[in-house]
Amino acid sequence: MNNALQISWLIPILPLIGFLINGLGRKQLSKSASGFLGSAVVLASFCLSLWVFFQVLSGNTGTVQYFDFIHVGKLNIPFGFKIDQLSALFLLIITGIGFLIHVYSISYMHEESSADFAKYFSFMNLFVFSMLLLVMAENYVVMYIGWEGVGICSYFLIGYWFKNKDYTDAGKKAFIMNRIGDLGFLLAAFWFIAKTGSVSFDKVLTPEAVKLLSNFDITAITLLLLVGATGKSAQIPLFTWLPDAMAGPTPVSALIHAATMVTAGVYMIARTNLLYSLSPISQSVVAIVGLVTAVLAATIALKQNDIKKVLAYSTVSQLGYMFLALGVGAYTGAIFHVMTHAFFKALLFLGAGSVIHAMSGQQDMRYMGGLKKNMPITHITFLLACFAIAGIPPFSGFFSKDEILAAAFSRSPILWVVGVLTAVMTAFYMFRLYAMTFRGNFRGTTEQEHHLHESPSAMTVPLIILAILSVVGGFVGIPEVFTANGHQLNNFLEPVFRESNKILAVHPLSHTTEYTLMAVSVVGALIGLWVAWRKFSAYQISTAPETGLGKILANKWYVDELYNAVITRPMHAFGDFLGNVVDKKGIDGIVNGIGKFVNYGSRQVRWLQSGQVGAYILLMVLGILGLFIIQLFL
């Protein structure tokens, strides 16, 4: 128990208060009041997170417990927070980037009515609260509360413009897909309780406690947790909700993709790293899921024309990288990529939001182009983010991606080859996006052209801050080959992954190999960048329909259609069968049949009640005779 960390409960409570005030007072609060309140509580959380971060930096980590959440028999689940290097880092990412997104939203959402505006901020606050609860949780049950919280908040925010049926459907899709994954998480938590009698990280994730678990238990638990992570972090097979989640306002996408929600799966696996390290099978599954997702999403992104869809698929692809890193045991690499990705993906989404804002809601890149001169700040910051995501040195994405690829290479060169291929595609589609949006000639309507303007400073200042972070964010993790002891993040996170690193016995690559790997991936990315730049700078709208592979990619590998055909439609058919045949004919038939039989039978038996005394006596005599016969002869 650590007294200095005791007040860390304020960090999640502040956004919760913001949610309550904004939510309950949405009719009374003015726009500026609710926007200010929503941002201020997150800023306050950020300041507290910074304080906690410096506490952690000075070696002050620990678990704080507030009260017993569930106490049944021998099972005791406390409500408490675990403050260590991993959660402190996530706190900073969530509240820091969350705050920038809140500030940006004040300007972006200014056209909404004040009640809707307050509603928006209350949900954003709740989202931040849930995510903070998730990363601060001291055990799987409290984590699950946050886990479900972000799920429901994503539903609220994706379906924010609920008058559009497509948008609410997208919200439902996100929620249902998440629920499928959550089941895996829940089962894993039950498994922990059954085998170890506890769900606290301090009790189940120690080398001693792990001895209680057989190899089968470990593999099963880790695979179930992976199911949960695929739902939340949009990995195969549950990734299709994330691109649809673009239905929400753009800052919401930024929040989902950068600060909250999708990093939850990565966080959870990193938190459970000890178990994954003990199960080679699960590790391989995680790596393969990540890699396949990365490639698949990258190929889809090549052919999308909606600016937000491209970014959505790029998120799925980058999350695939993170899972690859987790799968090959490069936990620090995964967290590093979460961090750098949070910077540049938030920047990309907010930049895209700025573009969409300027284009009066137009999201199709085919009708953009040449925005460079009208929106200088958005343009420069966006370009920097593209460099970062493409992995061009010395931008932040380069360092994290390089670390993941190097780790993948030391596990298996095939993983590395596919990873580099994905990196090339990433560079290509990001610069396709950039070139189509900012270079060439404007292809929209003249009305839109007159309306083009740089966004107000409430939107550009967050962009600039994020751009700086995207550029320099990588320097916390300079690889060993460049400077000895340059990987500050690795040193910082070392206590969290110490036990895993003992098990996994990393064999470092020689410096020449590492330089070669770096050179290959950078050259690959540069080629992808150059090709896209050349090809799409002078893009003209073509009406020719896509053919062959292009058509498959533009239609997202028909994954949605496949799920429809394999799962949704058979479920509907089964439901119809149950409804029409089993229920209407079977169950209704039995109920109505009993009624009809009684009705009919009574009508027939009624004739016995004739009112003739003789008839009654006759029946009585016959009955007695029958009894005699039974008694005497049978």
């Binding site: 004739s610 009112g611 003739q612 003789g614 006759l618 005599v621």
Partner: protein
Amino acid sequence: MDIKAYIALSLILFCTGIVGVLVRRNAIIIFMCIELMLNSVNLLLVAFSKMHAVSAAAKASSTFAADAQIFVFFIMVVAAAEVSVGLAIIVMLYRNTHSIDINFLNRLKN
């Protein structure tokens, strides 16, 4: 005399009573048929009692058992009481319907 003869007579009387109750509509006749059935049972009781007394005497091991014959007296007393009630009902029936045909009693039906 053979016990079978008593049983046969009793059976005939009883069946006559049943058939009378079933087929006749005159309340007095039905009443008499019921008496007939009661008395056939009385006859049977007395016959069996006598039979047991004879076999007991042959063994000379037990005293004469008169239980069944006392039963018969009981039945007679109950029957007499029943007759008084029954006849009273019939009188009331006649007062109401000016007939003693029991088919007029089905009025409760509706």
